[in-house]
Amino acid sequence: MAETISGFSNVGRVRFWQKGFLASQSAYVLAALIVLVVVMAFASPNFLTPGNVSNIVRNFSFIAIATLGVTLVIITGGIDLSVGSTMALSATVTSLVLSGLAGAAVALFPGGALLLAILAGLATAAAVGFANGFAVAKLKLSPFVTTLGTLSIVRGLAYVATYGRGAYPTGPDKDLFLALTAGRLFDLVPISFVYLMILAMAMYLALHHTAWGRHVFAIGGNEAAGRLTGVPVDRVKIVVYMLCSLAAGFNGIIISGWLGSAPANLATAYELTIIAAAVIGGANLAGGVGGASGAIIGCVLIEVIRNGLVLARVDPYWQQTLVGCIIVAAVLVDRLRSLRNG
């Protein structure tokens, strides 16, 4: 073996496809996604129109931000089923506060009411995340049951807060709110996509270039080892659950801005789609594996399937069946990787 490195005679050079992104599940799912896009483009002439592409981009940004958060939780070996409910509650609180401040004179500067409203929505989300994180990290409850409990609790609170009716944003800051959530940058790029990119970048940096990110991975790989070697396990976990809820809450606020409404049943049952997106993108529910790019690829894949089937005018009763098949097929592609890398 001529090409050895670092003085180990039994170690060759790593081929480019054996390392980094190209060796990850995300890369293989990305390949599957590209195939799917090509197929869809042939199946429906409307698929690659600018209007539709921008719809797709906006739609996946809606769940992708929450998926980033859930991916963090999954990397620590946990799960968060309460994201859908948190989206609804944050959106509700934001709308209620925005409407409530419409008459009041608290808004010291233009947009002040909006700022307060969004902060209130995010604070609610943070509180939910703290509760989840505290129960999982300190009380050592099972994340599945805990967050299933909060799923129910938080959804209930969204109903209670509006007496089942939901809320909708009103007031002088409403236009600003719509611009910040449903607007487009340079009249082209949906602003939610811009947020997504910024957050994904931040997540990438945090996971791979900070000690905190190391700790997140270490907890997922071997929580006991993390604890023994001085990783502040409980603190990291609580922060992770809070970030997850914040992402969900932020996502909920954006959706409600786009809808112009925060119905109490917003995002019902989204948790399974979001977790599926994370897992399709390479996060491993056993912990220790996952990343921002994978989360986004997973979301794009799911949205392309949904949108493509509608555009291809597949019988709606068959659509659900096909969505399931394609999801399984997408992860099946990842088996290729294991076969190749032995």
Binding site: N46, T49, G51, N52, N55, N59, F62, Y159, G164, R165, G166, Y168, I255, W258, L259, G260, S261, P263, A264, N265, L266, A267, T268, A269, R306, N307, V310, L311, R313, P316, Y317, Q320
Partner: protein, 291 residues
């Protein structure tokens, strides 16, 4: 003659009620010949998914949309967007009055509720306590029905029990269980008023439940006044498992929706509000409806 593609977007595709609308719309489209009916909506009741599907349909370039609104404010946003694209939009079954939709085809839900209340008063004027069963807590049309029932019974001898309405989330098994729970929690309950047909969509579950109090039901000590008039329900009524039904006409909604959209496309003016009317069914007239 031009051909048109009209889409009917239900609140949820898993609700048998909308199947009838679909059948009506399909049948009418066939009769008309130049119209195609696309039936597509979210599988479960959820506003954002419905909005996304409407957007997809706009992209697909449909000529007209009939939407059963899942959330008023949310639908208003997308409806206005569709109208801007030059698409003819109407609502059916559940309305978004502030949007730029051209017309609403369907039931007046408030009236629907009032009709349920009035039928109960008719069947059992002496009053008592009653409990309601609703579907999803977020559905505005159901909330209107509940209000309607309360309005009709206000000032009468009827009082609502605490814990009413229960929300079955359109789950028919849960709806029957809730009927049983209501009766157990309030042993002297005088009436059960589901504002949708859910518990009776489980015919044997409902029979099973009623059989426990058959004597009370026969003597009208427990009055059963239920919304909707699907065939199963009519059969149950004729067997004595309910006292009165108030029904909407989902099939007609589908038919009228197609006609209205076609009229708009042809440049005719249409009424803004088109009520498809209500059917009141009791033991006396059930046979007409069964045929």
């Amino acid at each position: 003659q031009e051909t048109y593609r009209f889409a009917v977007v239900p609140k949820a595709m898993n609700n048998p009620f909308f199947d009838l609308t679909r059948d009506g719309c399909m049948a009418r489209a066939e009769e008309l010949g130049n119209v195609e009916c696309i039936y597509l909506g979210p599988v479960e009741h959820e506003a954002a998914t419905q909005a996304q599907i409407v957007e997809d349909l706009i992209t697909q370039g449909v000529d007209g949309l009939a939407i059963s609104v899942s959330d008023t404010a949310a639908a208003t946003t997308v409806i206005n967007r569709a109208v801007e694209q030059g698409i003819a939009v109407i609502t059916f079954d559940s309305d978004a009055a502030d949007s730029q939709r051209t017309a609403y085809v369907g039931t007046n839900n408030k009236e629907f509720g009032v009709a349920l209340g009035e039928l109960l008063l008719e069947i059992k004027p002496e009053g008592g306590t009653y409990g309601m069963i609703s579907g999803g807590a977020a559905a505005p049309n159901l909330a209107e029905r509940v209000e309607g029932v309360r309005e009709a019974l206000a000032g009468s001898e009827w009082t609502e029990v605490p814990g009413s309405p229960t929300f079955s989330n359109d789950d028919i098994a849960l709806a029957v269980q809730q009927a049983a729970d209501l009766k157990t929690a309030n042993p002297d309950l005088g009436a059960i008023v589901p504002v949708g047909g859910w518990p009776m969509f489980a015919p044997d579950g409902w029979r099973n439940f009623v059989d426990g109090f058959k004597a009370d039901v026969d003597s009208k000590a427990l009055a059963l006044v239920v919304a909707d008039t699907l065939p199963v329900q009519l059969e149950l009524l004729s067997e004595g498992y309910a006292h009165g039904l108030v029904g909407q006409r989902p099939h007609e909604m589908g038919v009228v929706a197609m006609d209205t959209l076609l009229a708009i496309k042809n440049g005719e003016t249409v009424d803004e509000i088109i009520y498809t009317g209500l059917d009141r069914v009791t033991a006396e007239n059930v046979d007409e409806f069964l045929n």
